[in-house]
Assembly symmetry: C2
Homo-oligomer: 212 residues x 2
Amino acid sequence: MSPMTPARPVPLPEGPQLGLRERKKIKTRMAIREATYALIKEQGYDATTIEQIAERAEVSPSTVFRYFPTKEDIVLTDEYDPLMLEELRARPATESWLDSVRYVLHRSMDALLAEDPEAVRVRAHLAVQIPAVRARMIESMSATGLLLRGAIAERHGLDADSLEVRVYAMSLVGGLMEANITWAENDCQDELRDLVDRALDVIEHGLPAKNT
Amino acid sequence: MSPMTPARPVPLPEGPQLGLRERKKIKTRMAIREATYALIKEQGYDATTIEQIAERAEVSPSTVFRYFPTKEDIVLTDEYDPLMLEELRARPATESWLDSVRYVLHRSMDALLAEDPEAVRVRAHLAVQIPAVRARMIESMSATGLLLRGAIAERHGLDADSLEVRVYAMSLVGGLMEANITWAENDCQDELRDLVDRALDVIEHGLPAKNT
DNA sequence: CCATGAAATGAGAGTAGCTCTCAAAAGATA
DNA sequence: TATCTTTTGAGAGCTACTCTCATTTCATGG
C-alpha cells in the first residue's frame, strides 16, 4: 500500500522479448530517478531543479515531464499497489482480514527494505520534510484506499462503494500512513515492522488501556 | 476538524476596540476570499488567476500572497480547529470518547451549514475535483490529527506522542474525511450528519455484518 | 495637530514548475 | 531501403510564488 511502499526502480522486467523502444524507456525512467536521488542527496530537494535533473540524466527537460507529471512523482511513484492487492485477494478467506493485511504488509516491507533500503529511507524523510512531497504522498493514499475497497468489499460481502467500506479503507490507510511517518520522524531507527503491527492493533482494537 | 469544517469568513470579531488597521486587514481578507469564490463560480478554479483575484478584490497581487500562502489556501483556510478542540476538551470525561467527537462534530456542522452552506458546498466540490485543493485539504488533515492527539491522550491517559495515539488520531481523521468526500461526490444530497454518524460507527465497531 | 516610527501596500523583477507546439531523430514494419 | 509511428528536443509561454524597495497608511507621544 502506498503509505508503506514508496517507489523503487522496477527491476528491469523481462529482457529480450521487449523491443528496443521499451527497453530504452525503462532505462530513461531509471536514469531520471537516479539522477534525482543523487542531486537531492547533494543539494536537497528544493535546490534541485528539473533542468539539473534533465542534464544529469542526459535527457531534455521536456522528457522529464513526459515521464513524470510532477517533480514529486519522480521521488514517489509507486507501481506496487496492484501487486499487493493481488496478494491480498489471494489470502485464504478463512484468515481474518487484518491478519491478511498484516501478512501482505510484512512481505512487501521486507522486499522493499531488502532491495533498496536507502531509497526507502530517503523517501520517508522527504515525506516528512517537504510539504509538497508529503501532500503528494498523502494524495496517493486516496488511490490506495480506492484499491483497497475492492478487496475489503469482497472479503466482507459488502458493497465496495458503500460509505462503510470507504470509511473503513481510509481509516486503515490513514493509520498505516501515520505509522510510516512516525518511523521517518524517528530517523528510521525503529523496526518498521513493529510499528505497523502496533498500528494494526490500534485499528483493530482501539486504544490500549492506560499506561504511559 | 478540518475534514468537516472548511473555512468560512470570520464573523468580524469584536468591532470597536480593534484599531483601524486590524479592521482593514479583516476586510481585505474577506474581499480576497469573496472575489475568489465569485471568480471560481464564473470560470472555474484553474481559469482563475491570482491577478484576476487581486483585481476584483482591489488589491495588488503581492497583497494576495501576503494574506494567503497559496491559491488553495484562499479557498480552504480553516481557523476553527482550535475552537472545536476546546469544545472537545470541555466535554465531560464520563462521556465516551467517540460520543464526544460525535457531539462536537454535530454542533460545528450545524453551525457551518447554517452560516454559509453555499461556501461549504463549493469547497467540498473543489476538494473532489481539483487535485491541488484536495491535496492541500488532506494536508490539513495531518495538522488536525496533531491537535486531536492532545485531546485523545488527555482522555485516555496516554502519551500524546505515542504511536498508538498518533495512529488512532489519523485513522479517525482519515475516516471522517472520507465521509466528507463521499458527501461531496454525491452532490451534497445526503445529510452530512448521517454520514458522519455512520463513519463514526465504522471507526468504533469495524465493518457491519454482511448485507448488500 | 503634527512629527516620528512602524506596519501594510504596490510595483517590478526574477525563479521554477509545468504545458503546448512543432520539427527532427530513432525504432518498427514490410 | 522506404514508409509509418513513436519518442525526443527545442523553445515559447503561462502562472504560482518569492524578494526587494520605495511609497503610502495607520499608530503614538508630545
